[in-house]
């Protein structure tokens, strides 16, 4: 019976091989950032640059209903912006403690799609040594109604991550060790609704927590896109996230909250050439009821992007600039190619 099942599965896969769609893709990201090492001492500055490259392969339509995606990420991290304190409160940069030059991570995903239903499972994790080595598992389910006019979905993520050994002073000036193994969970509900032939709206609500480190937080995102003409498109996003004040704090930092929004415009001057520009603003604050401390950081964000599809190739290039009132300055650039084989 088992052999028969294996043969049937092999036959289904082989007979559908001609109907597969295969895609190879690669993308590269460069980030240069200058900021403050300590939010309470903005004169202690850092400057870092990081590089990461993703190479992946995606096959769609295996045995009609299955898609698989596998990718490898090679990154060259820069840890000279991370302050590590030992039990005597001596400070050192993580880059002096971790001599790692390259880090490798991988992801593997499988998706089953039939009719209006789609289920996927994605594993990702560190393959090489890293001070922040991780493993995560993500499950998604999505269902659409009325020819995709309405879509509902849910997702769950479990994360296990290492962190470098470090200590901090709590509000009572007692030295405490930070957790070096962190479990994280996230549950998300999402919906998307078409309002007219030119307008769609989406909403996401999530509850997540890094269990040993922070109180849980609730995040809400509302997104809209609108076709102004057949070649000009506008989008609008609103985000809010807040940690639950009903759960007590686990380290020296207070409760965090975010409020942000961004607008974007995409123009298609020639067929399959997309040029986009965006502006966003984000307000973040930290409030600690134990000490009465309140800190607020606000940042302006600007972005430019270009996408071009040429036959079976799709090129993408993006650049972003961020500046905050705490003199964090961040310039990032990324680009990639997707090749449908």
């Amino acid at each position: 019976m088992r052999t028969l099942g294996t043969w049937l599965l092999a036959f289904a896969i082989a007979s559908s091989a001609s109907a597969w769609t295969n895609q190879a893709y690669t993308s590269m990201e460069v980030e240069v950032k200058r900021g403050a090492l300590d939010i309470f001492d903005l004169n202690r500055r850092y400057g870092v640059s990081t590089l990461s490259e993703v190479v992946g392969y995606r096959a769609e339509g295996i045995a009609r209903y299955f898609n698989v995606d596998a990718a490898i990420t090679l990154s060259q991290p820069d840890y000279s912006s991370v302050l590590i304190r030992d039990a005597q409160q001596n400070e050192k940069l993580l880059s002096e403690l971790a001599g790692i030059r390259n880090e490798l991570s991988a992801s593997l995903g499988a998706e089953y799609q039939q009719g209006a239903d789609s289920v996927s499972l994605i594993w990702s994790g560190s393959v090489s040594e890293s001070p922040y080595a991780f493993q995560s598992l993500e499950a998604n389910y999505r269902r659409s109604f009325f020819n995709q006019s309405t879509q509902l979905g849910m997702s769950a993520i479990y994360l296990r991550q290492h962190a470098p050994e470090s200590y901090y002073l709590d509000p009572n000036f007692v030295t405490k060790k930070r957790p070096t193994r962190i479990n994280g969970v996230e549950m998300k509900l999402l919906g998307e609704q078409t309002l007219s032939s030119k307008w769609k709206v989406g909403a996401e609500v999530s509850l997540s927590q890094r269990l040993e480190e922070r109180p849980p937080h609730v995040a809400i995102a509302i997104k809209q896109s609108y076709a102004l003409t057949s070649r000009i498109f506008a989008n609008l996003q609103f985000n809010y996230a807040s940690e639950l004040r009903s759960v007590s704090l686990k380290d020296e930092r207070g409760y965090f909250r975010n409020l942000g929004g961004q607008v974007g415009l995409t123009v298609e001057p020639w067929y399959d050439v997309l040029i986009s520009a965006g502006y966003g603003i984000l307000l973040e604050d930290e409030e600690d009821p134990r000490t009465g401390r309140w800190v607020q950081v606000a940042g302006d964000q600007y972005a430019l992007g270009l996408r071009y599809r040429l036959a079976r190739l799709e090129f993408r290039i993006e650049a972003a600039h961020v500046r905050t009132n705490t003199r964090v300055e961040n310039v990032s650039g990324s680009g990639g190619v997707r090749w449908t084989l």
Binding site: N147, K198, K200, V295
Partner: protein, 70 residues
């Protein structure tokens, strides 16, 4: 009793109107809705500098969390 019946009827009418409206949307021209620029899932996430809320996996690389809670 009459009030409850009226309320139920009102709720049913609203639900029917919503379902009928969505069903009507299914028949419309989707050429602009299916354009890649209209894809809500590809809109970029906002970069954070104090809190890292919204990012379950965190990494010290790139100065993303030098001032946030780790």
């Amino acid at each position: 009793m009459v009030q409850t019946d009226f309320r139920n009827l009102l709720i049913l009418s609203v639900v029917f109107a919503l379902v009928a409206g969505c069903a009507q949307l299914a028949k419309m021209d989707r050429s602009e809705l299916n354009h890649p620029a209209m894809d809500l899932s590809t809109l970029p996430a906002q970069a954070r500098h104090l809190t890292n809320l919204g990012s379950l996996k965190q990494s010290g690389s790139g100065g993303a969390c030098s001032v946030c809670a780790h």
